[in-house]
């Protein structure tokens, strides 16, 4: 028995060839059945894929102790999804608490740098309450926690965005909240630690392993195994065991639904390309989902290229990783020849993770989404460019998508539009950069080291 579908031969853990053609048509002579890289072709709607498996990826690679809770969550989620009263309550919070719908902003001065002759729009998740897209998923899961009758939530956080969002929802809905955060990240993001504490959450610094996001997830999983009868693990992205990848995508799909309606309203048509940064991949899945089944819309995901792929210091799973299992799911993983997880690197804490959501792995393999790395330096240049051309300080995570636009703009212009009009790009501006002011100021030598040490207490506000 193989859970990965009958036609898929065993993979041996080596990377599959890059750039294999997207879902080669059924009339194309097929490679022999033994070829390990045969992509799984999707003939149904991509947008409604459900777990546990996305092609070869996904599943539930967790201790048996958690299976009952995952089953319970799966059942509760699907029941809630189909319950109009649940959806109405979530919609009410989106409208009255988060501030949805947020606008789609055209940015012509930035677009001039992307390529003269293209139109660029930003989906403004940065304007949400708590400052990023993370709140969409957090409110959905927190409502689910109330439905399930649990009283405590735990979460992992890297940069602190998901931790702050979770602490916010826990305060709103009267839930006990514990956030696990790598010790190194608690030091890098001291202000967000204070935010979570102000909101009533307990922040636990994690001192094992690499002391970053990956280790915070391990610690949250260990807590969950021991406390699962009353605790929900409010996972912050589209990875982990089923049903998290599907559920978190669904809670973020409002991003793409709004963006699609807005861009249709403004331009009269669909965009030529939609771009997002990809860490775990939740903001990207959220905006991609509404466009997955539009073959005319090109989709781009930008991973953290760190110091460059050849340096080994990056978080580009699709350029420097290979299929594997990490933290509950089968996806692409940065790993060494033995299968030990390799440390990731990025100037952006939110993209600094050695694996990626399994649906992205599948979209990569079938060629529906084009994943490319963006270096730290490219992201920071784009960060500054948006600040100066449009008066918007983006999260450094989101700046990777902006840098990606600068890179692919000329390609899109050259490809043109069937109607001869100006190519339209929609970029998901997943978060705002308040949290990143100290990092950016140091990057651009705006403050000296002494000031940088204190920046977390003053500058970021």
């Amino acid at each position: 028995m193989t859970p990965h579908g009958t036609a898929t031969p065993v993979r041996d853990g080596r990377p599959t060839p890059e750039g294999s053609p997207a879902g080669a048509g059924a009339d194309v002579p097929t490679t022999p059945p033994s070829a390990a890289s045969t992509p799984v072709r999707a003939t149904g709607p991509l947008a409604t894929q459900t777990g546990p498996y996305f092609g070869d990826f996904g599943g539930r690679y967790v201790p048996e102790a958690l299976i009952a809770a995952l089953d319970e969550l799966d059942a509760a989620y699907h029941e809630a999804r189909d319950d109009p009263s649940f959806q109405a309550e979530l919609a009410r919070l989106h409208a009255t608490y988060t501030g949805r719908p947020n606008p789609l902003t055209e940015v012509p001065r930035f677009a001039a740098h992307v390529s003269p002759g293209v139109r660029v729009f930003l989906k403004r998740e940065d304007l949400n309450h708590t400052g990023s897209h993370k709140i969409n998923n957090v409110l959905g899961q927190a409502l689910l926690v109330k439905r399930m009758g649990k009283t405590r939530v735990i979460a992992e956080t890297g940069a602190g965005q998901h931790g702050v969002a979770t602490a916010t929802a826990a305060a709103l809905l009267d839930l006990e909240c514990v956030v696990y955060m790598g010790e190194e990240d608690t030091q890098r993001q001291a202000l967000n630690v204070a935010r979570m504490q102000l909101l009533g959450a307990t922040v636990v610094p994690v001192t094992t392993g690499s002391r970053t996001l990956k280790d915070a997830i391990n610690e949250a999983l260990r807590d969950w195994v021991a406390s699962v009868d009353r605790t929900h693990y409010l996972l912050g992205t589209v990875t982990g065991p089923h049903p998290f990848p599907e559920m978190v995508r669904d809670f973020h799909s409002v991003i793409g639904e709004e963006a699609r309606a807005q861009v249709l309203d403004i331009t009269g048509g669909l965009p030529d390309a939609v771009l997002a940064c990809v860490g775990g991949g939740s903001n990207a899945m959220g905006i991609f989902n509404a466009f997955l089944d539009e073959p005319g819309v090109r989709l781009f995901g930008f991973e953290a290229g760190g110091h460059g792929i050849s340096s080994g210091l990056h978080a580009a799973r699709f350029s420097g990783g290979s299929p594997g299992v990490l933290q509950g799911t089968r996806s692409y993983v940065l790993q060494d020849e033995d299968g030990q997880t390799r440390a990731s690197h990025s100037v952006s804490a939110g993209l600094d993770y050695p694996s990626v959501g399994p649906e992205h792995a599948w979209l990569h393999e079938i060629g529906r989404v084009d994943y490319r790395p963006v270096t730290d330096a490219e992201a920071m240049q784009a960060f500054r460019l948006l600040c100066r051309t449009e008066g918007i300080i983006p999260a450094i995570e989101s700046a990777h998508a902006l840098a990606g636009a600068l890179a692919v703009g000329p390609e899109l212009l050259a490809a043109g539009r069937p109607d001869g009009g100006e190519p339209v790009l929609v970029i998901n501006l997943s978060g705002r950069g308040d949290k990143d002011v100290a990092t950016a100021a140091a990057w651009f030598d705006l403050i000296d080291d002494e000031e940088r040490l204190h920046a977390g207490e003053g500058e970021q506000l």
């Binding site: 459900t50 498996y53 690679y61 201790p63 392993g209």
Partner: protein, 303 residues
């Protein structure tokens, strides 16, 4: 449960465990446990003592010495831990030992070498591994090389039978035991499917939690063992939180084996020198071995 259709790879049905085709595959661990339980003319039947140590701590040769020493001191089945960067089922003590092993350069091939170096010590050797290491090596290739090294099978803490298709096939092909876990939260259906998929024994987690020493063994352990047997398991061993001879005796009264890890690792981590670690380890094992031998088992308790 899927509404989506995937082209030439129909969505797998909701994973249900295929009953193990184990009838034709002998279980080395199972036979050893059965022999211990049956006893003999000069010794009473008893539960087994299963001892965990990670490869590479304090060094690879040092861990081989420690495994052989713990078998000499009374461990009946070896659980050899393959160090992994993200051990989510392990508490701080084992995490730190494993981190040290990795920092010291321990590789997957060292585990296979350690199996080979301990397989003749007198106890079946099961490798405890997180799944990605086996996936990366290649499931069938790992099974082949483990069998060639003299290993008895695998204990897989983050692989449930639902995801274990390749491993079920490879373990059958290479005659290996496959120990899956059950937990207090497992439904009766999952107890049955896990029991059916396991060969050797079923690992019952005494409590909801990760590895580590605890003041008392979970009160639900005895019930879980009974339910797992009722669900079809031939043998059930209990782990998590057992660290003293007294606890071992208590568990040995109702289980087929008592699994101890953190208390053994602590003997090594707390020692000033490797030699002192071995001495301390043998002392801890002696106490646990006395526990499993002193357990009061109900007459004819070989159910």
């Amino acid at each position: 449960m899927s509404t989506a259709v995937t082209g030439d790879a129909p969505a797998a049905p909701a994973p249900s465990v295929v009953p193990a085709a184990g009838a034709t595959v002998r279980s080395r661990t199972g036979e050893h446990l059965d022999a211990l339980r049956a006893g003999g003319p000069d010794r009473a039947g008893r539960a087994a003592l299963v001892g965990y140590l990670p490869v590479g701590f304090p060094t690879v040769p040092g861990s081989v010495d420690a495994v052989r020493a713990m078998v000499d001191a009374g461990v009946d089945v070896v659980e050899l831990g393959m160090p992994y960067s993200d051990p989510v089922m392990d508490g701080p003590l084992i995490q730190r030992a494993v981190e040290a092993a990795l920092a010291g350069g321990t590789k997957v091939r060292d585990t296979l070498a350690a199996v080979e170096a301990t397989a003749d010590a007198g106890a079946p050797v099961l490798v405890m591994t997180y799944w990605n290491l086996v996936l990366r090596y290649g499931v069938d290739a790992f099974a082949r090389d483990l069998a060639a090294a003299g290993g008895a099978g695998l204990i897989t803490p983050d692989l449930v039978p639902d995801e274990a298709g390749e491993w079920l096939a490879a373990s059958d092909a290479h005659g290996l035991d496959r120990v899956f876990l059950v937990a207090p939260s497992s439904s009766p259906q999952r107890l049955a499917s896990t029991a059916a998929a396991s060969r050797g024994f079923v690992y019952a987690a005494s409590t909801m939690g990760v590895t580590g020493e605890r003041a008392s063994v979970g009160t639900g352990a005895e019930g879980l063992v009974a339910q797992t047997r009722a669900a079809g398991a031939a043998r059930v061993c209990v782990g998590l939180g057992v660290s003293t001879g007294e606890q071992a005796a208590q568990v040995a009264a109702f289980a087929d084996g008592v699994i101890v890890g953190s208390a053994l690792v602590r003997a090594l981590t707390d020692a000033a020198t490797p030699a002192a670690g071995i001495t301390a380890l043998q002392g801890v094992v002696a106490g646990l071995a006395a526990g499993v031998r002193g357990a009061h088992r109900p007459a004819g308790g070989a159910a």
